[in-house]
Symmetry: C2
Subunit: 86 residues, 2 copies
């Protein structure tokens, strides 16, 4: 079982934002394109990538779809950013 290191909410949101940004940049998509596909305003995508929004599960699902990957993959990357350990 993996255990998460102690950290604040801000760090978890930042890790999620970083994972999303990395995925988007890998796909050579703009925040506007991701926003359009996920039915979110571009500035909202910016905020998420900057760790400023605590998004809901359904929004996460739409974002994962816009980023052409399962949500579990984004979570794996988020946990990696966030310093989970095996």
């Amino acid at each position: 079982m993996r255990k998460r290191k102690k950290h604040g909410k801000e760090q978890a949101l930042k890790a999620l934002g970083d994972a999303m940004r990395h995925r988007r940049v890998d796909l050579k998509l703009t925040q506007e394109e991701v926003g359009k596909a996920a039915k979110l305003h571009r500035t909202y995508v910016t905020d998420i990538e900057n760790g400023l929004r605590n998004v809901s599960f359904l929004t996460l699902m739409r974002l994962a779809e816009a980023l052409h990957c399962p949500l579990s993959l984004l979570m794996i990357e988020t946990e990696r950013q966030d310093g989970w350990e095996m």
Copy 2:
């Protein structure tokens, strides 16, 4: 790449709830115990398991911690419930 089948929000929330319930039952925990660990009311945990709540990312993180597993694992199980395909 895996592609998600067309489905409603309700089905995605139901899949999340089912994944959480399975994990909790596997651990022989009550909804009250999970709620206490995640700082949520027992009835809120009930609602989540019944697919009636669109929880936030930070709440999902707390629930995963209460269920002693990384959030990515819960998402993998959610996607399996929700009928993702390889």
